[in-house]
Symmetry: C2
Subunit: 210 residues, 2 copies
């Protein structure tokens, strides 16, 4: 057997710990998006990831703390995705928003309409969630709204919309989009097809933006 130096061992252990935490959070994202927070048991997360309970509590003092880490991770992933799509200068602004809609549609289709939006799912369960959780979720939705509003302002400036939009108008329109879009995701889980996503987006683009 070859022996590694203590330094390499430390690095390996540290990399391993970071991998374990990431794996737990990734599993949390999947399970919360499918079934929500309350119905997700820590035991099943441990089983899926293949780590002992002590390892979980090493990273997360409570299920609430785990939930917050999962929300943060999903929010970061989603913000990167929105930034990639909505600030893509190679396309006109409205096409960027349409590209986001299309990517979301393909994503839901790929997962057979079992997975919705993690933020929407958690928002739905609020009867027992505390204010900290609620503010966190609303904060995530607001960050998506601001990014969408900026894209809509670019669309207006490029002459893609019927009217110019001031900042308040664009925020209102983007807020309307996200309110309705979360409803469309919910409905697509019910119909088990992409029709609600297409219908909502088509109406939004045709009636609101042209």
């Amino acid at each position: 057997m070859t022996q590694r130096s203590p330094k390499l061992d430390r690095r390996a252990r540290s990399a391993n710990r970071s991998d374990t935490r990431s794996a737990l959070v990734r599993c949390g994202v999947e399970m919360f998006a499918e079934r929500g927070f309350q119905a997700t048991g820590i035991d099943e997360v441990l089983k899926r990831v293949g780590v002992p309970k002590g390892s979980f509590y090493h990273f997360f003092p409570s299920k609430q703390a785990f939930g917050e880490a999962v929300i943060d991770s999903y929010a970061q992933y989603f913000e990167r995705k929105l930034d990639r799509l909505l600030t893509d200068d190679s396309r006109p602004p409205l096409e960027r928003l349409a590209a986001f809609v299309e990517e979301a549609r393909l994503g839901m289709t790929k997962h057979q309409f079992q997975r919705g939006c993690l933020i929407g799912n958690l928002g739905q369960e609020l009867w027992e969630l505390n204010g900290r959780f609620r503010q966190k979720l609303e904060g995530v939705l607001l960050s998506w709204q601001h990014r969408t509003a900026a894209c809509l302002r670019e669309a207006a400036a490029a002459g893609e919309l019927a009217t110019r939009l001031n900042e308040a108008d664009s925020e209102m329109l983007a807020r309307f989009f996200w309110i309705g879009w979360e409803g469309a995701i919910l409905r697509a889980k019910l119909t088990q097809n992409d029709e609600p996503l297409r219908l909502f987006a088509d109406c939004f683009f045709k009636k609101f933006l042209r």
Copy 2:
């Protein structure tokens, strides 16, 4: 002690049984609307209503059967409400839809934004619900959509909209409304205020219908 006839006793027992079933279903409507299907324990329903377990299983062979009875009851209640509001000839058609929005807004405010739409809540939990449940929920939403579409056609016929609507257009617009409205209810639970309801309805009326 006065003695009642056996016939009266039978009637009283029958009335009592029917009351117990109604009380269980009413409690189910409340609890499902607050916290959903999975998180609602039959034990807590029994405790709230004050009946023994055997009594529950006398009426409902399973939690699924109870869930279906609760959905049916809520659907009936909601259809009566929509019929009362949306076919009220004393008001122009668009005012009727606005009256529905206002009643829903007041209802959510009264319950401090803890209770959402029972149908929306249950739809959100579909990862483990069977097809029968899913079709039932979609059927309820469709019945609301058809009623709303009829009201929109009346609005168009009365010259309240910018354009005439054929049946397909009115169904599409009503479907858009219900997709987005369920999203607005979800968001109002998150913000704990009526702003998402007002914003969605205002945009819908201003941008879509005028």
